[in-house]
Amino acid sequence: MDLDRLDYAPKIVVPAIIAVVALAILEFWAYFGFHESSAERNAFGYSRDASFSVEGSFVAITTASSRRFWTQRYPQAKLPGWKRIMVIGDSAARGPSLDGSVTETLRRQLSERCAMRTEVWNLSSPGYGSRRKHVVIDKALEFHPDLIIYHAGITTEYEDSREWERYMEYHSWHPRHWVDQLPFLGRVKLSKLERLYWQWLPEDVRAASLEGPLAMKIGAIASKTDSRYWMPKMLSNLDRTVEEVREAGVPILILVKASFDPASGRVTDAGLDKAIAERYASRPGVMVASNRELFSSRPDVSALFRDTSHWTSAGTNVVAQALGNSVGRLFNGGGSCSQGGIRTARR
């Protein structure tokens, strides 16, 4: 019984102190040792400055704060005669590696076919939807791009919404989140959520277990791929982005994402390309390109997709070639590298 066990109390004190001190050491180590603070870590991609750091005269781009950019390094000031293009998108635009990504392929093609000297920044991160892309672009405009290529889709809007709710929760005053805000224990909890909870458990098991306030909000959201629900939200965010980019005087090329249905062999985008083309048809400096149109016209469409939304290297080449033609048209006003490619709705 408990009163009999009170004699063990003195024995508990030292191990308890050791455990607490060990945890305190880990917290200090995490606070000073990690390259990002827990506040940045808990930004869930909504930190404006995360992943960008100016080192001397260079801009270093790294993975940070749930922002999984490829590591890149560019001069802070544009070199004379060089064009700076930034590609903002999700995992499809990010690519399986920096070398195999659409950005690097585009840079090579522009160099080889058009003799253009370009920096093509890959600012794409898996799961990023319109809300987080807007935050990235807001920061990217500080580095004076000549063109923004925006990969627009609705399949990642769900992740954006989920992460936004998490961001709001983690930054609340609520005592429930005090542990979350600790550098070490907060990171352990977040790792479990991201590495175990979201990755190990099948989606339907996870969904069934969601009962907290955040869960309720997410549960109330319609299907992850319900285009009628997500499209208006995505278009509204895109409007803000286009507005900001145009205010900065930078042209924007919106490449509308498409998905591949292996069963039917068709490439679809739920009408997103038409909706975006109509929306920006009269907007100067805004070009719209359809991934669906680009791929649908090709006989080897199944060879262009690794899965339902990610491109193979052949697919990446096709996209890069088409983008290169559009970029060539924009910067060179025509010429050998601007023939064919994506049919753009440009004014």
């Binding site: 066990r5 109390a9 191990p15 005592p175 429930r176 099948p202």
Partner: protein, 537 residues
């Protein structure tokens, strides 16, 4: 207020700090704290607890000595109505509820006053029946009325009578099964002179609604709890250290083990209820997940209850003694939910079997003895059926109790089972533990399923009726392993002790590592994700 809410630790710290700082009036303070604690669910239902305490107080006084005068009876007996009237000033309370409570209180007072006029032995017996009747009445009405009315409606519809009006929609007050059993035990103990009747009404009220054990036990005996509620202990820093030790264990078991395993178990049983079928792999994983969930949930709750109580210098009963190491179903019940199993042993099984033995004794002069296998077996099954029904108003709970009753009888009548459970040696020990665990898991399937039909489907799935393939995703197995293995390791660490809390008997280094890991694992989980399973009883 649930122990799993973020605000309970703040509540506990505040209450225990003020408690030890108070030079007097500690009893009133704890009663007030308990009322606040319970009011987080529904402040109206405090009237039930007050009513039960009033009935216990008056009846035990009347059983032990001369009953209180009618004015006192009316003052205390009408207290629940007064509570509702006060509450009605702040919160909406239906007039019908107030009127029904007033009528019930008045009826009790009149019955009590009438019973007080009887001769001593008759009075004692009458007041015992009255107090037990009040508590059972509360339990039956609030817990079983919906079930009975649904059954009655079904029966009437089968014979062509439409009578929707019989269908009741009574809210179930949290923890009702626990405090009513505690009340009954107090009255019976006073009647049997195992315990003295308490002369202070507030102390009886405090015993009924002492917040650490109010909603899910342990079902305390008055002889153990009432003297402690004089709050005569002086502050001892060891209360704090031991209390924190128990609280850490409790939260670890609840938040890390139970709530995470619940993700798998809840998904599976909900889908089964919706008609989905699963193969052996999924069914076994879900059954294992539920075993870990219910263990972590209830054992964890009991540690939190004990830890909270010891912070106030109160010692509660140990409710679990490593039940997963039991070598027979009978031993399992001697280790699992001990306060309930000893309650049903003392207040149902022994009186029932002694009563039957008394009537069957060979001669009027011989002493009754519970040694007839047939009597013991039938009483065991009846007792366990009642224990099943105690858990909930549904056939699957009754089947759960009945199954355990049958198992215990089997261990009495099958010689091999008894030998296996008592043989020394490594292999018999492992085999008997595994066999008991499997049987307990089967019973837990009956317990967890939403209906008998669902339980049958789960058992069929486990037996391979929907295919014997490993249909469970590897992520689910990994998830289960991550959250159940620490529990297995903890039990293995204390396998020769009484309970998990005895990990303090290990070396200081082991203890430091255990604390360190428990805090990290606890912090990695989302607190308050799921309610305690036993709160619904």
């Amino acid at each position: 207020m649930s122990f799993a809410t973020w605000y309970f630790p703040f509540f506990l710290v505040a209450i225990s700090t003020v408690f030890w700082l108070l030079p007097r009036r500690r009893l009133a303070f704890i009663v007030l704290a308990s009322l606040v604690f319970y009011s987080f669910w529904d402040v109206r239902f405090c009237s039930l607890l007050i009513g039960a305490a009033a009935s216990d107080y008056l009846c035990t006084r009347g059983i032990e000595e001369a009953p209180p005068p009618p004015a006192t009876v009316l003052a205390i007996g009408m207290f629940p109505t007064a509570w509702l009237l006060v509450i009605a000033q702040f919160k909406e309370v239906a007039g019908f509820h107030v009127a029904a409570t007033a009528l019930a209180c008045l009826a009790f007072c009149l019955l009590f006053i009438a019973g007080s006029r009887l001769k001593e032995e008759n009075r004692r017996r009458f007041l015992l029946y009255l107090a037990v009747g009040v508590n059972l009445g509360i339990l039956v009405f609030f817990k079983y009325a919906n079930w009975f009315s649904a059954g009655l409606l079904d029966m009437l519809q089968r014979i062509g009578i439409s009578a929707d009006w019989v269908l009741l929609d009574v809210l179930l007050p949290v923890g009702i099964s626990f405090h009513t059993f505690q009340s009954i035990a107090y009255v019976v103990d006073v009647f049997d002179k195992r315990c003295k009747a308490e002369r202070d009404f507030w102390r009886v009220l405090c015993m009924i609604m002492f917040f650490p054990q109010l909603v899910a036990g342990p079902i305390e005996r008055a002889a153990a709890l009432l003297p402690q509620l004089r709050f005569e202990r002086q502050f001892d820093w060891r209360f704090v250290v031991w209390g924190l030790h128990l609280l850490l264990l409790g939260y670890f078991l609840k938040v890390f083990v139970a709530d995470n395993c619940a993700v798998i178990a809840d998904y599976f049983f909900k889908r089964i209820h919706l008609g989905e079928s699963f193969g052996v792999g999924w069914s076994l994983a879900a059954t294992g997940a539920y075993a870990a969930q219910i263990y972590g949930d209830f054992v964890g709750y009991s540690y939190i209850a004990r830890g909270s109580a010891i912070l106030l210098g109160i010692e509660l009963t140990r409710n679990f003694e490593l039940p997963l190491l039991a070598r027979s179903p009978g031993e399992f019940w001697r280790r699992w939910h001990i306060s309930l199993s000893t309650w049903i042993r003392d207040y149902v099984f022994l009186p029932l079997s002694l009563s039957i033995s008394y009537h069957n004794r060979s001669s009027p002069s011989s002493r009754p003895a519970v040694n007839d296998l047939a009597i013991v077996s039938s009483c065991l099954i009846v007792t366990m059926l009642l224990a099943g029904l105690w858990h909930g108003a549904d056939w699957h709970f009754i089947a759960f109790g009945g199954f355990h009753g049958v198992l215990q009888v089997l261990w009495l009548v099958v010689p091999g089972a008894k030998v296996l459970s008592s043989s020394a040696g490594f292999l018999p020990r492992i085999a008997s533990r595994m066999l008991t665990f499997v049987l307990v898991c089967i019973a837990w399937i009956l317990f967890r399923s939403d209906s008998l039909n669902d339980a049958a489907r789960v058992l069929a799935s486990v037996a391979g009726a929907n295919g014997t393939g490993a249909d469970v995703p590897s992520g689910v197995v990994s998830w289960l392993a991550v959250h159940a293995v620490p529990l297995v390791l903890l039990i293995a660490l204390v396998r020769n002790e009484k309970e998990e809390a005895d990990v303090v008997r290990r070396s200081r280094a082991t203890l430091a590592i255990a604390y360190f890991l428990m805090i990290i694992l606890l912090a990695s989980s989302e607190a308050g994700r799921a309610q305690f399973i036993y709160f619904q009883f």
